[in-house]
């Protein structure tokens, strides 16, 4: 299976991050690890690209951040969804569902259109 292009990923990353954080507050590393594990490392992205995304979402008010201590007592910046972030996730989920459904319909079409010339 060929790797998806970076362009697709950039748009996708937002919704992946929102989804990751829907489980609760996480720091950046945890978000990246969750995405890797859930996708079975199918989406191999540069991990660094996650941080501008996190900061952008924070600026747009979809996330809020707080410095806190991790379980092994290290300072880390924890992100959590705001109410707006939760709404955005819901909307994106529906959009993605529709998109995937539409693409699936196209790819699984059985009926040949009448205007197609037979090859």
């Amino acid at each position: 299976m060929p790797e998806p292009t970076l362009e697709v990923l950039k748009g996708t990353l937002d919704v992946l991050v929102l989804k990751a954080l829907s489980w609760g507050a996480m720091h950046g590393y945890a978000v990246s690890r969750w995405i890797r594990e859930v996708t079975d490392e199918a989406l191999t992205i540069e991990e660094g690209a996650l941080y501008p995304t996190l900061h952008r979402l924070e600026r747009r008010g979809l996330l809020e951040a707080e410095w806190d201590l991790t379980d092994n007592n290290r300072q880390a910046k924890f992100y959590r969804l705001t109410a707006a972030g939760r709404r955005a996730l819901r909307a994106e989920t529906i959009t993605w569902g529709r998109f995937a459904e539409a693409v699936r319909h196209v790819l699984t079409a059985k009926q040949r259109p009448v205007w197609a010339r037979s090859s």
Binding site: H27, G28, Y29, S32, R33, E46, E47, G48, A49, Y51, P52, H55, R56, E58, R59, E64, A65, E66, W67, R74, Q75, A76, K77
Partner: protein
């Protein structure tokens, strides 16, 4: 705490160090990733390398995150700041809403103070600060001649002098001249003949000033020659008002004094040079045959060469004048004090108004100070109520700086509201100024609330808001944080420090108000003095109007004499007219001229002598008057007789001198029968004087201005010294204004093409001559009344507040047996002492300040006991009333109720 956004807590913990935050975050990620790989069995070094590889471009990510973070932090700071300002503003509004009456009082007080300043500023700006509407106006200068020893410090130039200047002045880059403006009769526009004002100017005038016509073109040099085609430029106002802005006006012909002129252009109204005129015509110099060197009638304006200064120009003109003096000794006698000099055009136009207007600005500033003091007082009163609130807020952790910002925001808000209301006052005042038509203050009719006035008002409003709330703020915030304060009750008498500050403010208000009252009293006494001055004539019951005879129709002696005789006859016999006469220049109007008077014989030796004829001479005011003029004006005859019908052209030449000329030339002697001359017999060489025998002496008349005595005067019969423009004076027993239809009818009956214009009562003429001072007096009086009201209101406020705070104490005193009189005395004492101290300080200040008014005030000393006493009494009475009302209220306090309340 749930309302505090997360980022604020985050900022408090770490401060806005965005760069370090990003680094920490990235380092944490790499460490965790490395650990993850080590846990999977990688060697630490390989794990680290793999973690870094997976991360991608670390530098780019860090930079992107830092940039975004910094932008965000900045926005957050701004948001926070704006949020706090909004908080302060809405808090201030809530506070105002809690005591709307107090807030309204403060805003109104500020509005009066700020409005007065904005109004005076709008006038000062129009007259003083707006640049003259010319190209590079700072380089424009007026060029004047002078005959210092003949009493002519500023004299017009003659045509030959204009050519001399134009040929040899190296410091001047261009030169233009205007002849005296004149009135003309205009026909061909509308049905009726009209009187229009005309200015004759050289072709160089408009290019020199850099004024572009709005239609057509300016004069060409060839049109500005004697005998060339007659062309005219219209003023914008005339073109719009009387020709309905006719777009096809160029090339049309209009008749000026029955001579056809072709319209070539329209001049914008912003251009005005020595007043507004309807029409502009070329002066028409003749280089080959110039007018006589002694005929001084040109106002000359020049442009300084780049880099040249007025001092350099004056030095050059000084030596030019000396050269001319040697070259033409008969024109410039060695004893005449002849010279040439320049004055900057700005100085010429606004020089006299500047001091007066700056003085008015100062007066308005005093009113604002009083208003500020009042507001400070009101805020102080509120401060004592708010002490508890602010103490609690401080106990809850609000910093001093934050609280100061809160109280100053309140002040600025009050200032802004007051300023907005003040602008309305200024806007109204500017429209009043525009309508005043005070000729002494050029461009006052351009006063308006424009950007500069807005900016000035904004700055003054904010500054006033801050200044008047600063003391109360510091008081509030500087107070010690004591729990007793926070929990203590209301109703104690005020603290000593507060009370002292309040007393100082009352003293200051009263002192400043007194200064303004004294100043305005001096100004009003000046106007009163001037209008009641004995000008040498009686203006009451006299109607005046001007008539100008067009030269084309009245070109010879019989026609002019005929006109005057017929017109005077008709008017003299008209119903209601007691006496009538004409004069070539009406007193206290622009007209009138002076010239050299030669004296046949005098015992006085210190008079200058004319070289060519070797006669003593002096410069004297000269007027041609008709029989009946002196009676109509009720001039007082000291000796001899007035002119009558005997003094015709063919009769022996006679003259009447005034008492000052008689005293100067023939001290202690009888002038009757002695001879003087103002001109010679034509075409005679050596010159033969045309001697006139003195037949009478009259009292001196203030011809030019009421506050200036003026030079010696000489009168000649109009039939022996013809004037084609004259003012008629008509005396009646009744209301002079009721004669207007009659005189128009009578003049039309003599010549229906001649309009009678400038129809005014003589009392109006006298009034207009003092209109600048009258306006100053009115303005100053308005400011002084404002100051009086504010100071009295301030005093009342402080006294009423003191009584309020002492209700309990007074209750106790009365319960213990104090009499009402004792209570009254208790309250009155402080107020009266404050008023007395304030007035004493005010008198001292006034003595210093009124010195600045010398020159503006006439007939009254700057240290005027009557004005001082009057002001002290008026202000003292008003202040005592303001003290008495609350004091009386104190005596009505019911001790039982007062005690029960606390």
């Amino acid at each position: 705490m749930t309302n505090t956004p997360m980022w604020r807590r985050y900022l408090r913990l770490f401060g806005p160090n965005v760069a370090a935050d990003v680094d920490t975050e990235v380092a944490f990620h790499l460490d965790m990733r490395t650990q993850e790989l080590i846990d999977k069995g990688w060697s630490p070094a390989d794990a680290r390398a793999e973690a870094v590889r997976c991360f991608g471009n670390r530098a780019a990510v860090t930079a992107e995150c830092r940039g975004a973070g910094e932008r965000r932090a900045k926005r957050q700071r701004t948001t926070q700041y704006l949020g706090e300002v909004r908080q302060d503003v809405s808090f201030a509004f809530r506070l105002f809403a809690r005591s709307p009456a107090a807030a309204a009082l403060i805003v109104l007080t500020l509005a009066l103070g700020i409005g007065a300043n904005a109004a005076v500023f709008s006038a000062a700006q129009a007259v003083l600060m707006r640049p003259l509407p010319y190209d590079r106006p700072e380089h424009l200068v007026m060029v004047w001649g002078k005959f210092d020893r003949l009493g002519l410090p500023q004299n017009f130039l003659s045509e030959p002098e204009y050519w001399d200047l134009s040929d040899s002045a190296r410091t001047l880059d261009g030169l233009a001249a205007v002849g005296g403006g004149s009135g003309s009769n205009l026909t061909g526009v509308g049905a009726e003949p009209q009187r229009v004002t005309t200015l004759a100017a050289t072709a160089s005038l408009l290019p020199l000033l850099g004024v572009q016509p709005i239609l057509g073109r300016t004069f060409s040099a060839s049109e500005d020659r004697s005998g060339s085609a007659r062309v005219v430029m219209l003023s914008e106002g005339f073109w719009r008002g009387r020709m309905a802005a006719d777009a096809h006006v160029l090339g049309k012909t209009i008749q000026i004094d029955s001579v056809p002129y072709v319209v070539i252009g329209v001049v914008p109204d912003a251009f005005r040079f020595f007043g507004r005129y309807d029409l502009y015509v070329p002066l028409g110099f003749d280089r080959l045959y110039p007018a006589p060197r002694e005929e001084h009638g040109l106002a000359v304006v020049g442009r300084l060469k780049a880099g040249a200064t007025i001092a350099q120009a004056n030095a050059e003109l000084g030596s030019l004048a000396a050269r001319l003096g040697k070259q033409y000794p008969q024109s410039y006698g060695p004893d005449s004090g002849w010279g040439l000099y320049t004055v900057s055009l700005y100085e010429q136009l606004v020089g006299d108004s500047r001091r007066a207007l700056l003085f008015m600005l100062g007066a308005a500033g005093l009113v604002l100070l009083i208003a500020s003091a009042n507001v400070t007082n009101l805020l102080l009163a509120r401060a004592s109520v708010r002490e508890r609130e602010l103490a609690i807020r401080r106990a809850l952790g609000a910093g001093r700086a934050r609280l100061l910002r809160q109280t100053l925001t309140e002040g600025m808000l009050l200032g802004t509201l007051g300023g907005a209301l003040g602008l309305l006052i200024a806007w109204w005042a500017a429209s009043v100024f525009r309508g005043l038509e005070v000729s002494g203050l050029s461009r006052l009719d351009e006063a308006r609330v424009d950007g500069t006035v807005l900016a000035f008002t904004a700055v003054v409003s904010l500054a006033t808001g801050v200044i008047s709330s600063l003391l109360p703020s510091l008081r509030l915030i500087g107070g010690r944080l004591s729990p007793r304060f926070a929990l203590g009750g209301y109703g104690r008498s005020e603290g000593a420090a507060n009370s002292r500050m309040r007393s100082i403010l009352v003293v200051a208000e009263i002192a400043l108000a007194l200064v303004l009252l004294v100043g305005s009293s001096l100004m009003m006494r000046t106007v009163w003095h001037l209008t009641s001055i004995d000008a040498g004539f009686d203006a009451h019951g006299v109607l005046t109007f001007q008539v100008g005879l067009p030269q084309r129709l009245y070109g010879d002696r019989p026609s002019i004499v005929g006109f005057y005789q017929r017109a005077l006859d008709r008017l003299r016999n008209a119903p209601g007219v007691q006496s009538v006469g004409t004069v070539s220049g009406l007193p206290l109007s622009a007209g009138g001229s002076s010239g050299t008077v030669f004296i046949e014989d005098t015992p006085v030796t210190n008079l200058p002598r004319a070289q060519a004829v070797s006669l003593p001479m002096l410069e004297a005011d000269q007027r041609a008057v008709s029989p009946g003029y002196m009676e109509a004006m009720r001039m007082r005859v000291v000796r001899g007789r007035v002119f009558d019908e005997r003094d015709q052209g063919g009769a022996p030449f006679v003259a009447i001198v005034d008492s000052s000329l008689a005293a100067r030339v023939w001290p202690g002697l009888d002038p009757i029968g002695r001879r003087i001359a103002v001109d010679g017999v034509r075409n005679s060489n050596p010159p033969v004087m045309r001697w006139r025998t003195i037949v009478g002496v009259v009292e001196h008349v203030r011809q030019g201005s009421l506050d200036i005595v003026g030079r010696e005067q000489l009168y000649m019969p109009i039939y022996q010294r013809l004037a084609i423009a004259s003012a008629f004076v008509v005396r009646t027993a009744g209301d002079p204004a009721s004669l207007v239809p009659l005189i128009r009818r009578e003049i039309a009956a003599v010549d229906k093409g001649l309009p009678a214009y400038d129809v005014k009562t003589m009392e109006e003429v006298v009034g207009e001559s003092v209109q600048t001072r009258r306006m100053m007096a009115g303005l100053l009086a308005t400011l002084a009344i404002l100051a009086l009201l504010l100071a009295v209101a301030g005093t009342y406020g402080v006294m009423a507040y003191a009584v309020d705070r002492r209700v309990h104490e007074i209750g106790v005193r009365m319960a213990l047996g104090a009499q009402r009189a004792e209570v009254l005395h208790l309250i009155l004492r402080r107020g009266v002492i404050l008023t007395a101290v304030g007035e004493a300080v005010g008198v001292i200040l006034a003595l210093g300040v009124t010195h600045a008014m010398t020159g503006m005030i006439v007939g009254v000393s700057a240290i005027d006991p009557a004005s001082l006493c009057g002001a002290v009494v008026v202000l003292g009475t008003a202040a005592c009333l303001a003290i008495y009302v609350p004091a009386r209220r104190a005596t009505r306090i019911d001790p039982l109720a007062a005690l029960r309340e606390s």
